[in-house]
């Protein structure tokens, strides 16, 4: 997944962006914006919060561009920063913890049926009820499809810990979803 995100020529774009080429930096943003926005949405559960988080991620990328080795993949850094920024935003906005599952969700294309949109809203709602670290491990492993070892590196954790977090989170998601459906019917 990460390799696929790192399309050819990104090193050149980063070099140009470091030199002050705004268009090159915009290209870097366009390559990663969907992934960063959707990861933030799955971690935070609210589109407005996800937009704020994703902006903060790219602002930090721009701010610290000089520290980047052009030869390294940008995707792991972006995932790590997204998790960190979402953690900070999530803690600040904990008072708004209750997610309205019927809230407008721009993260939907024409290919989505009403049923799948409903399923997605339910899942985003129950994801928010998971403990922070379990949610991050589950989103990166199951939604983003990253290998457990890569998730461990991004979260600065061990592979065994990630396995344990993911196992626990999968069972909780199942139970929370069933409870959510029972309460809505």
């Amino acid at each position: 997944m990460i390799e696929s995100m790192m399309a050819a020529g990104e090193g050149g774009l980063l070099r140009d962006a470091k030199a002050g080429d705004r268009a090159a930096f915009e290209q870097v943003i366009m390559r990663h914006e969907r992934r960063v926005l959707l990861t933030a949405l799955h971690l935070l559960g609210r589109w407005e919060d996800a937009q704020d988080a994703a902006q903060e991620v790219f602002v930090r990328l721009h701010r610290y561009l000089d520290r980047f080795d052009d030869a390294l993949d940008l995707a792991p850094w972006l995932y790590r920063m997204t998790v960190n920024v979402c953690r900070d935003i999530g803690r600040k906005r904990r008072e708004h913890a209750e997610l309205d599952p019927d809230a407008a969700d721009p993260a939907c294309g024409p290919e989505h049926t009403a049923g799948s949109a409903e399923q997605r809203r339910i899942l985003q709602s129950v994801l928010r009820k998971l403990p922070e670290k379990e949610r991050a491990a589950l989103v990166l492993r199951d939604v983003e499809g990253l290998p457990a070892a890569e998730v461990a590196r991004i979260l600065n954790s061990s592979e065994a810990t990630v396995r344990s977090q993911v196992s626990s989170a999968r069972l909780k998601i199942l139970k929370l979803t069933e409870r959510f459906r029972r309460e809505r019917t």
Partner: protein
Amino acid sequence: MSCETFEKLIALDAGGDLTPPEAARLQAHLGTCAPCRELARSVGESQSALKALAQAGVDEDALARWRRSLLARIDDEPRRRILPWRWAWAAAAAMALVALLAVPRMVRRPPSEAPVAHALPPASPNLNALPHPPQSVAQALPPASPSLNRLPHPPQSVAHALPPASQSPSVAHRRPRPRRAPAPSTEPLLVKLETPDPNVVIYWIVEGKGN
């Protein structure tokens, strides 16, 4: 092994996270436990729904608005240009090395204890402040270079370095042999360089080894 223990394996199996021995153990249990088979089916469905989250598209108009807002924010914020870490470390290491080499010498040999050679800009050595070679050597040898004049007196007679007068005194006067370096001295020489700025004086410690 209880069904509760197998729940964790079922959850891991749904994402393909079991090792082959773990998967074999789970399959053996599922063959005999209907509630665990039902749980495995439910976790599998939940897992498919989670993976489908990744397929969500993003409204293009919303995305374009978000990007415009981001770029405006970036334009307002100047980029933080920093000294690359490796250069910062190299500079710090160089400064530490200079401090380690220079400070102990300055402490061990205060300027008052060592002979001081003054030099004024432009850098022309002040020969008056330097020790003179013995008169006999000054006659036998070509004029010494300023750098050699900075050296202290050799402790032994330079005549020993010349061929005996009985062998060929005339040759000794016409074609003096290259001057042998004076014997090592343990006394260091402190060269003081005064700059046009009276607040800036440079001290240069020369090892007293005759070279």
